[in-house]
């Protein structure tokens, strides 16, 4: 089984890396929420361009997009087929016009509207993809929890995130070890076993994994209690960085983008979609 690293963080000293974790989190949330509010393909393309520019500035290796892109393509093909089977006239419903490409039957008619709707959806999904990859590429893992606390998430919930990230590799290793140990005993949970057998055998990995995790909970919580965790209402963070001018600049810029998207959506176009058919 391949090992997945949650953070691909490498500090290569670009301006994006130098931003504090808090401003990165705020910018990330602002831009992803901006993309949620609109289906206007022009706005989405601009957002896509912005996130690509950001990843260029951060010197993100572009070849990493390839795998995700393939995954998205497969997803979109399935989504297209499913939508076509269940709601082939959804595009016509949205845009109110009907430009036919090919008629399969009365109900199943391929229209430009449907194709345009699927294309807009593709752009909508893909435009925040670089941001997601970018976020974990440029944020210092130990700064993540303090950034969450910075946007007023209660510090105990921040600890949950920090601890989850910290213990993810350990539990992954436990899982591998238990899996291999059970395989050595002839308990196979790989593709070769039949479905019912697989379910049973997965349970045999799950029980030791969960119970050893519960033991670990005991250990960690005792250690934290001994160090007086949770006694005060507030908490400071070792890896917290103070906001400087460039942070305010970045947040301001993202706020501006967010506001312009909302402006386009609610004042200029006044519709979720931009209709090129009228």
């Amino acid at each position: 089984m391949k090992k997945t690293k949650l953070f691909s963080y490498v500090d290569n000293g670009t301006i994006i890396h130098k931003l504090s974790g808090l401003s990165k989190l705020i910018c990330f949330l602002l831009l992803t929420f901006a993309s949620m509010f609109t289906y206007d393909i022009r706005v989405l393309l601009v957002l896509l361009l912005i996130s690509l520019v950001i990843s260029y500035i951060a010197k993100f290796p572009f070849k990493r997009y390839k795998l995700v892109l393939v995954y998205f393509m497969i997803f979109m093909v399935f989504n297209f087929l499913l939508n076509f089977l269940l709601a082939p006239n959804y595009g016509v419903e949205i845009f109110g016009t009907k430009h036919v490409i090919y008629v399969f039957s009365d109900h199943f008619t391929l229209t430009w509207e449907q194709m345009y709707y699927q294309l807009a959806k593709f752009v909508k999904y893909i435009c925040i993809m670089p941001l997601g990859l970018m976020f974990f590429y440029t944020i210092d893992p130990s700064e993540f929890a303090s950034s969450l606390n910075g946007i007023k998430v209660p510090y105990k919930a921040c600890t949950v995130f920090a601890l989850a990230l910290r213990y993810f590799p350990d539990i992954q290793r436990d899982y591998n070890n238990i899996n291999l140990a059970q395989q050595a005993r002839g308990i196979d949970s790989s593709k070769k076993a039949s479905l019912t057998k697989r379910v049973k055998n997965v349970a045999k990995i799950l029980l030791p994994l969960v119970f050893s995790t519960l033991d670990r909970v005991e250990l960690i919580s005792n250690a934290m209690e001994l160090r007086g965790y949770g006694k005060e209402k507030k908490r400071t963070w070792y890896s917290y960085r103070r906001l400087v001018k460039r942070d305010y600049l970045a947040i301001g810029l993202c706020l501006f983008i967010f506001a312009s998207v909302l402006f386009m959506r609610f004042v200029v176009v006044k519709n979720l979609f931009w209709n090129p058919f009228i």
């Binding site: 089984m1 949650l6 992803t32 995700v68 939508n83 999904y125 997601g132 799950l206 909970v217 949770g230």
Partner: protein
């Protein structure tokens, strides 16, 4: 049983929530049993929210679902799919309501409420919350999201009850019962 409805939020619960989320993440990302329906996997990870919910309460289980699912989306590389992440949190929340009604700590086997709450929670999450958010945020056609939602509901409810049930029974079996010692 004088347990509060929402569970307590002490250090142990915080740590359990964090490790539960990590566990959820490992299972969610790596242990996929393909179901007969194409493109749908049986996610045994929901058994974790079920089990941890009964042990540590609704807030803990909702956070496990939320953090586990959100971090999984990050690993996979696409942005966060908020509609489904929130649905996972809702499913966890309902699984956690079983906390009040169960006493696994003292070797009591999970009762009817344990399974009912999970099925109700999975139903609300996948047939109500996820489709509605999908329609509002992503403007998916209504028919498609409800077909997807119903499939997810059936698959996830089964996995939550079966996997969560196995864990809960096994856990209750190894805990000594509250009445194993008599006061003299």
């Amino acid at each position: 049983m004088n347990k509060s409805f929402f569970g307590k939020f002490d250090v142990k619960t915080i740590v359990a929530t964090a490790l539960g989320a990590a566990l959820f993440l490992v299972l969610f990302a790596f242990v996929k049993i393909p179901s007969p329906v194409p493109n749908t996997n049986i996610q045994i990870a929901y058994g974790i929210t079920t089990f941890f919910g009964a042990l540590f309460g609704p807030i803990s289980a909702a956070l496990i679902g939320f953090a586990g699912h959100a971090l999984n989306d990050f690993i996979a590389g696409f942005g966060i799919w908020w509609s489904w992440v929130i649905a996972s949190a809702v499913a966890g929340l309902f699984a956690g309501f079983a906390y009040k009604f169960s006493d696994l700590e003292h070797g009591k086997k999970p009762g009817k409420m344990f399974f009912i709450l999970n099925i109700v929670g999975q139903f609300i999450a996948w047939v109500i919350v996820a489709p509605i958010l999908d329609i509002v945020i992503y403007a998916e056609p209504v028919d498609t999201v409800f077909v997807q939602g119903l499939t997810s509901f059936v698959v996830d409810a089964i996995s939550a009850c079966v996997v969560g049930g196995i864990l809960a029974y096994a856990y209750a079996a190894v805990r000594s019962s509250a009445s194993s010692l008599d006061k003299e």
